[in-house]
Every structure is written in C-alpha cells, then in structure tokens.
C-alpha cells in the first residue's frame, strides 16, 4: 500500500482528535491568508489607480521625443510628425497623440504665471488622456486648429480671469524670438491643483504656427493594450525610429513606477509579518499535538514505522491543516471582494486619496496567478515550519511505548 495513501486518512483523522485546537489553527491560517490577500489586492488596486491617474493625465504608457528633449523640454528639441515606418507601427499599437509642448508665460489683465503650453489634437488626445473629459466650464478644444485656450479652473482663479476672457501667452519660438499671442479662454478643466497650475491647452496646428514649428511636434504620447505588450511595443517603436527617444511610463513617471514597486514590496513585508505570526501559531499547536502523542509515535516506531515515515505523517497533517486553512482564507477573501465588484468608492477620502496619488474609486480584483503564488508560498513555508514538530515526533522513544521501568 502506498505510504501516502496509508498515512493520509490517519493524518486527517488525527487533526480532529482535538477539534478546538484544529479550528483555532485553521482560523489563524485562514485569517492570515485573508489578510495577506486583502492587503495585496488593495495595494495593487491603489497602485493601479495611482498609475491610471498618472498615466491617463498626459504621460500615456509611453512617449516619443527628439533626443535630449527630456533634458531640455523646449522647442529647440522638436521632431517631425510621424510618418513612414513609425506611423505604421504607431497605428498598429493602439492610441497615440502628437503634441507640441513649450515653456510659456500666461498673462491676464491682473497676473502672470509660468505654465507649459500644450498644443494638442483634441480627437487623438481624448484617446490617451482623461483631461479632455474633465471640463468644468465651457468646452474642450474643437480641433487641431482651434484658436481658443483651455486652462485649469484654479489657474483662472489665480490669474483673476474667467471663461470667455482673453489671456496673453508668450513663449520662445523655434527661431529664437519671443512669440506672443492672445487667446480666448474657451474651457476650464479640473484636476489636481498642480496639474491645473502647470498646463494650458490650445490646438496643435495653432501652437505650431505660433511657435514657428511648421509641422514639427514635441512629443508623441501612446497607449498600448494590453499592457503585456509594452516592452515589445517599445522595442518595435525604437526599431522604427532609431533616431528618436522612445521611453515607457516606468522611466517617464518614476512616481507611478515607485508606487507599483512600493505596493509589491509592502505586500511582501506584510506577507512576511503575517507568515511569522502564522508560523508561530502552527508550530505551537503542532508541537502540542506531537507532545500529546509522544507515546503513540513511540509505539508506531516500536511496530516498525521508520522515523522518516513519522516525519512524513506529521508533515502530512500540517500540509492538510494549512491547505484547508489557505482554501478557507481564499473563500473568505472572495466573499469579502464580492460587494466591491463594482469598485470601492473612496469618495469620502477624496482629499487623502488625491494626496496619495490614487483615484476616488479603487477596483480590487483577485489575480489568480498572484493569489496562487501567495497561497503556495504560505503553504510550502508552513509545511516546512512543521518540520520542527515532525522531527520532535520522530525522536519519540519507542521504549516509552513499552512503559519501560528499570
């Protein structure tokens, strides 16, 4: 008879010799797993929200610039509009949007502020950015040639101006002269104060004209779906435009990348802390179970069971116990997630959530591969932890089974 088939039923029944202790251990393991998975899911949801907030602002999943633009983001480092092989690759990837960006001064009749003037193609911009949908008053740009300007509502307040008024925008043109143009405010957008203070938008061709760029642009922002193809897509773009600088969001938005890394690290730390607590519980209860059965283990050895088989039996008990606990923890986690299938509304924490770089709504989702990795880690480490009580059991003296007296 196969040893595992022989020891399996014995291990299962042995667990229920003391149901209260077994249930307590199961509760420790399942709550521990629930806690780790909950933490993992929430951290990932927060990181995803933070990433989406950041990338769907202007960054996109990647950008293409002229060489040295990232070091000196001025019109001096512009590039031609995409064509040929680059255009072919971009069209095959998903959404992309060309932009002109230049440091500028915006002036109302009362005040002046330093901003970044962005010339955009509104139709393409809507595909890579959420800003066009965040209009609080007025409208977004109608087309690449739109001569209006969209500014942040907060910036309008700082400039003491309002929708429908004109502002002066000054920026250094490609030929070196200071270009100056008056633009009517056609829309006010809402976002974080920092974004509202920094960016103003006008039509792409209007900006190119003002800055004397002809058909040149400052950057191309692109999105790729699904994310899994990002590395290969960036590779394809680099091959299509070897003279340009193609970077993905992990380089362009280090904060979003740090959030992603931070969530993974923090989950790992939490997993370690929870595992240590669980391990203490598992070892404690298993040691108690073993000490209570010292005589029985001695008797089994006296009957001819090898010490290795004793170790196997105790490990099997632990494997079953932790396995059932892990499964219960996953079920508990799924039940917890169910009410938040449509998203976890953090509207009541809006200000704090904004500070933390996340959105108002988190979308917690249990990734099967991540959950499996966490559960397997806990199970394997938990079973390994049980090696201690198992070895203690194997050291039980068979003489004790004889009730030996000298």
């Amino acid at each position: 008879m196969d040893l595992l088939r022989l020891l399996g039923p014995l291990a299962w029944r042995s667990l229920w010799r003391n149901p209260r202790r077994t249930l307590i251990t199961l509760a420790v393991v399942s709550v521990g797993i629930w806690s780790i998975l909950s933490f993992d899911v929430l951290m990932k949801a927060w990181a995803a929200s933070s990433q989406a907030e950041s990338l769907r602002l202007l960054t996109g999943e990647g950008q293409i610039h002229a060489p040295r633009y990232l070091d000196d983001p001025s019109v001096d480092h512009s590039m031609p509009a995409p064509g040929g092989a680059l255009l072919h690759v971009l069209d095959g990837l998903g959404a992309w949007s060309p932009r002109v960006r230049a440091p500028a001064i915006i002036q109302s009749e009362y005040r002046t502020r330093a901003v970044t003037l962005a010339g955009v193609d509104p139709a393409r911009e809507r595909e890579v950015s959420d800003l066009p949908a965040q209009i609080l008053a007025g409208r977004y740009l109608a087309g690449p040639a739109d001569g209006g300007i969209v500014i942040g509502a907060d910036l309008a307040a700082r400039l003491k101006t309002r929708l429908g008024k004109r502002v002066i925008v000054m920026a250094q043109a490609a030929d070196g002269h200071l270009a100056e143009i008056g633009l009517p405010i056609v829309g006010l957008f809402g976002n974080t104060t920092a974004v509202q203070d920094e960016f103003v938008f006008t039509g792409l061709s209007r900006a190119q004209s003002v800055l004397g760029l002809g058909g040149s642009i400052s950057e191309i922002s692109f999105d790729i779906a699904p994310r899994a193809t990002l590395a290969s897509s960036v590779g394809a773009l680099r091959r299509a435009a070897p003279s340009l600088d193609v970077q993905d969001w992990t380089t362009l938005s280090p904060l979003a990348f740090a959030m992603d890394t931070f969530s993974q690290t923090y989950t790992g730390v939490w997993l370690a802390v929870m595992f240590v607590l669980m391990a203490i519980g598992i070892v404690n209860t298993q040691l108690m179970a073993v000490f209570e059965r010292t005589r029985e283990f001695g008797m089994l050895q006296a009957l001819g069971m090898r010490p290795g088989a004793i170790v196997l039996q105790v490990m099997l008990e632990s494997a079953i116990l932790i396995g059932v606990g892990v499964a219960a923890g996953v079920v508990l986690m799924l039940a917890t997630l169910r009410p938040f299938a449509g998203g976890l509304d953090l509207g009541f924490l809006a200000a704090g959530s904004e500070l933390a770089g996340g959105g108002d709504v988190l979308y917690p989702k249990l990734e099967p591969a991540d959950a499996l990795a966490i559960c397997l880690t806990v199970w394997v480490l938990g079973v390994a932890t049980a090696l201690w009580p198992a070895r203690a059991a194997a050291r039980s003296s068979p003489v004790a089974a004889m009730g030996a007296t000298v």
Partner: protein, 234 residues
C-alpha cells in the same frame, strides 16, 4: 530447534543524574524458535528492559543480541525498524492501538507499512480479527471496545504480518480475570497454531502457568530457567 533469540553478556546501565543504575547484568539467554516463554520477576528486575533490547527498541550498554541470526545491537535505526516490522510483533500492557483508526484499520495499518496491497491488507486483517474472536467488531474504534477486546486487536495486529517473534509486556496487567484468562488461552492457541516464538514479560502466574519455558529475573539477572514437561494447551 535453533535459537531465534540469542543474548550474550547483555548489560544495560541507565544513568540517573550522577548515578549509574544497572538494569541488566550480563544476561545470557537463548530462546528457541516456536517457544512460549515467560519472563517473570519483581518490578525493576529488568524484564521490560530485556524485552526492549531484544526488540531493538533500545541498545545494550554491553553484550550482543542476535535476532533470527542477525546481530542487532549496532544496526541503524531504519534497519532496526525494518526488523521490528518484519520479524517482531509487539503486544503492550496498555493496548497501544491508534485511537482514530477502527479495529480493522489498526491491523491493516501495520500490513500497509509492509507495502502489501490494500485488498490483501484488508483480507488478512479480517482473518486475524476473526482468529482472535472479534468478527463483527471490525469497524469499532478502540474507545468502543472493552480492554480485553482492545488487547485482542493488539494481538491480531502483532500476528498479522506473520512475525517470527512476539514480544509481550504484561499483556494481562490491565485486564480483569475473565478477560485475562481468555487472552492467555488465545495466546497459547496462537502460539501453537502460528509457530511464532512468544516471549512474555509478566507478573501474572496464570500466564506463567501456560508457558513451556519459565524464566525468572532478579536484579537484572536470569535466576531461573524452567521448562514445563507438557506443551502448552489452550
């Protein structure tokens, strides 16, 4: 008949604190195959210690022990476990059944350790339980059996693999008179039927009365060795 158990100059000294306590003092003993022998003597005379050493549960401080021709005192733990599994059956004073297994499963378990197929284990376990008079009680767990019934299961478990030697340590100590008498008769019958060698450490004179060889121990030495004229009978 040849000696299936052979002890030569076997001593065992236990250390208690700073004091050496001799449990066995140079025991020389030969038990022939198929014998029904008892070891009797006062508490502390070394009966259980001698059984433990013969069964490979402990190692002597000096001397050598041969079981079925194999010197066992220096064998590794795993090899000793194999010898116990295949050649030696144990019956303990306290029954020592696995409480979460039924009577049938307790017997099947030891056969399973031998690697026998499940169906063969089950058939042999039923046969042995029938042999010890427990037909119909196979599915009962130890807690659902009387002391006498539990000890019968232990005897069935010890004999199931067909060992050459059965070592029993005070098998009747926890039984009432009626159950003790039945168990003694059963052991005597099984000794005659199976041909296995029985060595029983006991205070119980009813067990001694059934033995064909009666060994007496005092202070770690064999002090008496009598052979009954007539074979043991059930």
């Amino acid at each position: 008949m040849s000696a299936i158990i052979r002890c030569r100059g076997v001593s065992k000294i236990y250390r208690q604190g700073l004091v050496d306590v001799p449990a066995l003092r140079g025991v020389d003993l030969e038990i022939e195959s198929g014998e029904f022998a008892t070891l009797s003597g006062p508490s502390g005379s070394g009966k259980t210690t001698l059984l433990s050493l013969i069964g490979g549960l402990d190692r002597p401080s000096a001397g050598e022990i041969l079981v079925d021709g194999e010197e066992i005192t220096h064998l590794a733990a795993a090899r000793l476990a194999d010898i116990r599994l295949k050649k030696i059956g144990f019956v303990f004073q306290t029954y020592s059944l696995i409480p979460v297994l039924s009577a049938l499963e307790n017997v099947e378990f030891i056969l399973g350790l031998l690697g026998r197929p499940a169906a063969a284990c089950s058939a042999r376990a039923r046969e042995m339980l029938h042999e010890v008079g427990l037909s119909g009680l196979e599915q009962r767990r130890p807690a659902q059996l009387s002391g006498g019934q539990q000890q019968r299961v232990a005897v069935a478990r010890a004999l199931a693999p067909g060992p050459a030697i059965i070592l029993a340590d005070e098998p009747t100590a926890n039984l009432d008179s009626a159950n003790a008498e039945e168990l003694i008769a059963l052991i005597a019958r099984l000794n005659a039927a199976s041909g296995a060698t029985f060595l029983i450490a006991t205070h119980d004179m009813r067990v001694v009365a059934h033995a064909r060889r009666r060994l007496g121990m005092v202070d770690g030495r064999i002090t008496a060795d009598e052979r009954a004229g007539a074979p043991a009978a059930a």
